[in-house]
Symmetry: C3
Subunit: 363 residues, 3 copies
């Protein structure tokens, strides 16, 4: 605990933690000040993400980057799961689907691209475990393909039968969760050596003891989740004030803020020339959303939502997810990276963001 | 011959060969008992496939895995060609196209995925000739792309002119057969060393003399073809009794049973840690359907069918073929495999099967 | 200059240079003889392309293949830029877009495929710098994806708002040019060593002094541009006389003749077992069209055209560009090539050409 306080005292970014209680206070006192709540919640998420990042790295230092990456991805996606569950309870299915699609696209394009760019600006050329990255990219590709098949087939064949889509979504959800369980068995048990990353020496780095690291990890995740809820409640109204379309908010803003914690870890890994950690977080997190978060939401929708939710995405989202995962697969094929690869991946992301920002609202 | 009988006596699976005459007898005596004929024909195909598998491996042991793989793929696809020709003669073009598309998808997803899974359950990690696999995957990708171009372009541009589609299909069929001939020249003559697989020592394996192996190969293939015909005649009626849609029958059931012989070889290769053989059969067979079986059917339709057949597939089939070949390309990129890769490839296949099973029939 | 004349005397192909003044004379004397002008201009472009090829190789010999390849791609695309600007001034937006799409498809499929085939017929198996090729293929893929996103998203979501498309196209054009500038910085400055190719010894080759080479390069490029204009003016009318559709002309004929100079260099590199040069020209040139030529045309259309041009391609063109870049990415993944790879890549190109040739004209 003393160590944590010392860490906070030496890291000015963590001083922003002061905004965490401010958000909750503001929400109690001024629940209608959406733009204020939006800004405050973003300011509160940033230091929590930084804290989470350091704690995850401490755990990763003890357990190896791959397990640390998986741990990080799980906890990071807990945030997204909580956000989506809130929206599900309110029956906002479009927002839930936009945030699923947006999280996959943001993780594979923005997180990966910015990691390559930030790492590449510091290191001339970066190498990472190619075999592990290829495997994770293949898993991501197959996971998103499986998640998208109902959307793709019914669009291609113009099927609109609702009963068909719903039955298919439930069957698929069960399949995806089964694959997720088997995947966890694979990466943590039978083939964990494949996910081990290249060795790094980090003499100067101070790591926390495992107990403190785990406690901080848990606490910071819970706080991120709570603040994220304030953020979600305020974001739609605040977005209107800033002139953003609903598609842009769900796809870009929610995904960026919801993934802030993971991004901080991924970027910090890239700067420290540990691209294995960055690639592991980005691809692992995107896979987990397709294989775990999305099907859980479908199954849970039978209990908490006003009506069951299916797994059918709108055509533009399908295209963006496919392009994003294909890009990630091609780009991580090498096991090498340089700054310009990051620039191009980010450019694809920027083009998506620009398209969604300009897209005229339907109806 | 004695050796063959000894083999049959020691392998309980081959006792099922008794069903081969039973199928023909039942067909004569009870031509209307579709469900019975369906079950009997499946029971008869299984041992024939096993026999074919052992004979092919004996030939492969003498000629190298690549030539053995090619041989196997050719004979395996003879079965599919015979089935498709029967359907063509009856003017059932949808069934012909569904079985072409289904054979490509089943070979690339089910055969490859199950090989990876079965091999991976026995061997911790399997390596295979990466250069050969990549080359075959590239050929498969290009072959299916060429086969699909008329479907894709006319869908994209909403062209429905029948004269255009028919002229294009004939021109394309000629191009594809030319490419097939050149490809055979390439893999068997000018660059055969590229298709040679990594060496394996198989001390305990008893192989047949080349004469017996070739004779068994030929006889078993003919019997498979004959039994397959009974199967095709009964499958539609039997499928209705089991509640399957026509799309599911053409795409999944016909393809699985039609490819049973090749699958037995591929799976047996995977168990024996000879993944080169499995990958060669799966990708080679799928390429051969696109480059040889499909164009031959188009050209033959001008002589035996009631009206010429074109090469235009329905949109859902195009999407599934593209996803299947892209998956095969990505997954064989490594030259390595483990059980979970097989699980994910099979999951994509299962999702296709589930979608087709639930798809409401048109009209 | 003497050296240039000596070169011309010894190379019968260069005697065709005599057609260059003939084209200009014929254009003055018989401006209505479209078929004649078409044939003459093609005859004049061929020797200019050959001259350009030799000059580029001389420069490449002094500067390394990668820089030579980039130089070549820039000058080759100047031709295409001049052609497109002429069409833009006349308000022929369909022709401009067809020539952009056609240039990308022709460079990635025809130029690459024919290089592999021509090189493979002479050399049993060719190796080239895999890391550089993969990087260039990734850049090409991302560049074309970024260029196509507005087309894909608006098709998928059936958006037809013109204001949206126009705003998006301008924003995208700025992004693409920024990426182009950063890419040039990357390949010529910060990471030029990645683009260096494997060493080759070429004892027998006579190279020109750098001054003569550069002067010839510049002069030949200008002449190609001038003759190309005659070609473009005559091609539409001549095409009708030969029974070609407008889609075929824009996509195939303009692209083949416009890229003749680069193709001569790429093919000559392939024959000399310098596939790095060929792959560099083909992929670099296609990237440059997506990142530089296309956005410049959009921005310039605000000044010289009758009305601004957007970056929306028709669905068939989108599909062909995506297939072409995906094919290039898969095929260059290896760093190895043999003749049959070239055959299959050319087959995809031939299928496109055949489809466009047979496509019934709209309206």
């Amino acid at each position: 605990m003393q160590r944590l306080l010392k860490e906070i005292r030496h890291n000015p970014l963590l001083w922003l933690l002061a905004f965490v209680p401010v958000v909750f206070a503001a929400q109690k006192l001024k629940p209608e000040a959406h733009t204020l709540l939006f800004v405050l919640s973003v300011l509160a998420i940033v230091p929590l993400a930084a804290l989470l990042s350091h704690a995850t790295e401490s755990v990763a230092a003890k357990t190896g980057d791959a397990v640390g990456g998986l741990l990080n991805a799980t906890l990071g996606n807990l945030t997204e799961l909580v956000i989506a569950l809130t929206a599900l309870g309110a029956g906002q299915y479009m927002l839930v689907k936009a945030s699923i699609a947006g999280a996959i696209v943001t993780n594979t394009l923005f997180m990966l691209g910015a990691s390559f760019l930030l790492g590449g600006l510091k290191h001339h050329e970066q190498e990472y475990n190619r075999i592990s990255a290829r495997l994770q990219a293949s898993l991501l590709f197959l996971a998103t393909i499986a998640m998208l098949i109902p959307s793709v087939i019914s669009q291609a064949d113009s099927v609109t039968a609702e009963a068909f889509t719903r039955k298919l979504s439930v069957g698929l959800a069960v399949l995806l969760i089964l694959a997720y369980a088997l995947g966890t068995l694979f990466s943590l048990k039978t083939h964990r050596e494949l996910f081990a990353s290249t060795k790094h020496d980090e003499a100067g780095e101070t790591t926390w003891p495992i107990g403190l690291a785990l406690a901080t990890l848990a606490a910071a995740t819970v706080l991120v989740a709570l603040v994220s809820e304030v953020f979600v409640e305020s974001v739609q109204k605040a977005a209107e004030a800033f002139g953003m379309t609903p598609a842009f908010v769900g796809f870009i803003v929610v995904a960026l803020v919801g993934g802030a914690a993971e991004m901080a870890s991924a970027f910090s890994g890239a700067r420290k020339n540990r691209l294995d950690l960055s690639v592991g977080i980005a691809l692992g997190s995107a896979s987990q959303i397709a294989l775990f978060v999305a099907p859980v939401l479908v199954l849970v929708s039978y209990f908490i939502g006003p009506t069951p939710m299916d797994l059918q995405f709108w055509p533009g989202a399908v295209v963006m997810i496919l392009i994003a995962t294909l890009t990630a697969t091609l780009v991580t094929n090498n096991g090498r990276s340089a700054w310009f690869v990051g620039v191009l991946v980010l450019m694809v992301y920027l083009t998506f963001a620009m398209t969604l920002y300009l897209l005229p609202p339907k109806g």
